[in-house]
Symmetry: C2
Subunit: 214 residues, 2 copies
DNA sequence: GCCAATATGTGAGAGGTGCTAACTTTAGTC
DNA sequence: GACTAAAGTTAGCACCTCTCACATATTGGC
């Protein structure tokens, strides 16, 4: 099993195959699908088009993926890896246990959604074959775990503490909703535009300072 | 223009046509699509299958809708009407200006998402032809307006007040994110399950009481 | 009441898509 | 060098979207 998804550098948009065997088809298909999802929306993608972009026949993808949903799952998996990385990097840029670290994680999340709205939407719209993909579940929990760690450090409590979990979930809900609303009505938020950093700091403070109940 | 979407009662699942002319095809197609979206996921729907359910040929739908996205937009439009209604009803069940009214609106929102996760997701996943449908935009703002009204009454400020707008948006983000996370990992929220009402009351209080900045 | 005009249905069909089957080429192993 | 498995190919079925030409109701003007 060679799940080497990240072998190609992301900048290589179209690297035609070098012979009969492509050598890097799987990764390149994922990259092509990611691009298609981003430009033509989550539905405006077809396996055939992705194969065309990679310069192979329309049947070739099925040597690497069972079916269409599995390709999308591949894209989601790769996206979740990247999301986790930017979240961790954001947290690492601030002192451990600081409110800024928590807010920075949220900002990274929002920025990711804004940078790749199509992929972001795809991550949270996988209904078909979502359950028979425990690795995605695991990766999702991994992302959440980054936030939980920061919150736990901030409150000086263990990550397993119910209060930590609850407040983390509240923060996540908030950031998640903000991200979605943000990419849905892009730049047209009905009200005045929002300074994300101040916004997230305010939210983080409110949620981490308030009393816990219910 | 006869946009009479709500002529059929929702309980009539399959009302076969009565003659050559169907008489109520448009509404029944929307109902069929709504059901398909709910049971087979937002992607597992086809115009042909919807037509089959309504007992007409696969070309008939195109007499009522320009193309596939327009049918989905019809479903979304109808869903937004219903969403607004339940939000208004929830608000009306509590004293004007009370915190309970605000929380009840949020609960109605979450309940809607839980009751019709497929449709709910569809509402917020329309990328194709989303912009050339100003009525959907308007209806979305209408739903938001219900919340804004309640918040304004609660704070005793006019609805146009920037602070009212900001806090409403915060609440909306929260409820929206909670709804999405809720239907994504159904009942498996990693942490202990959540009492929605207490949760929403806590949030509403925190957001409406806290100081406004940024 | 009659007759256009229009609305709403039908079947046939072009072109695209998902996926499979059977075959061919390449790479790795003994 | 032969065998095997991996990774491509073409051909093709079933389905889907959408259009076109045609058939049939409904409606409004006279």
């Amino acid at each position: 099993m060679w799940n080497d998804t990240s072998r190609t550098d992301a900048s290589a948009t179209v690297t035609p195959k070098t012979g009969y065997h492509h050598g890097d088809l799987r990764a390149q298909l994922i990259a092509a699908v990611r691009d298609l999802v981003e430009t033509h929306g989550p539905d405006g993608f077809s396996v055939a088009e992705a194969a065309r972009r990679a310069g192979v026949s329309s049947a070739a993808p099925y040597k690497h993926f069972k079916d269409r949903p599995e390709i999308l799952r591949g894209v989601v998996s790769e996206a979740m890896d990247r999301l986790r990385l930017v979240m961790e990097a954001a947290a690492a840029a601030h002192p451990t246990g600081s409110l800024e670290a928590v807010a920075a994680i949220g900002l990274a999340y929002v920025d990711f959604a804004r940078a790749e709205p199509g992929v972001f939407r795809l991550v949270f719209s996988l209904t078909e074959g979502h359950e028979d993909a425990p690795d995605l579940q695991t990766k999702g929990e991994g992302c959440f775990g980054v936030l939980v760690q920061a919150v736990a450090a901030c409150l000086d409590l263990p990550p397993g503490n119910p209060d930590v979990q609850r407040r983390s979930y509240m923060l996540w809900s908030f950031v998640h909703g903000h991200s979605f609303l943000n990419i849905d009505m892009k730049t047209k938020v009905t009200t005045a535009e929002i300074d994300d950093w101040g916004y997230l700091m305010t939210i983080s403070r409110a949620i981490l300072a308030g009393s816990a109940q219910s």
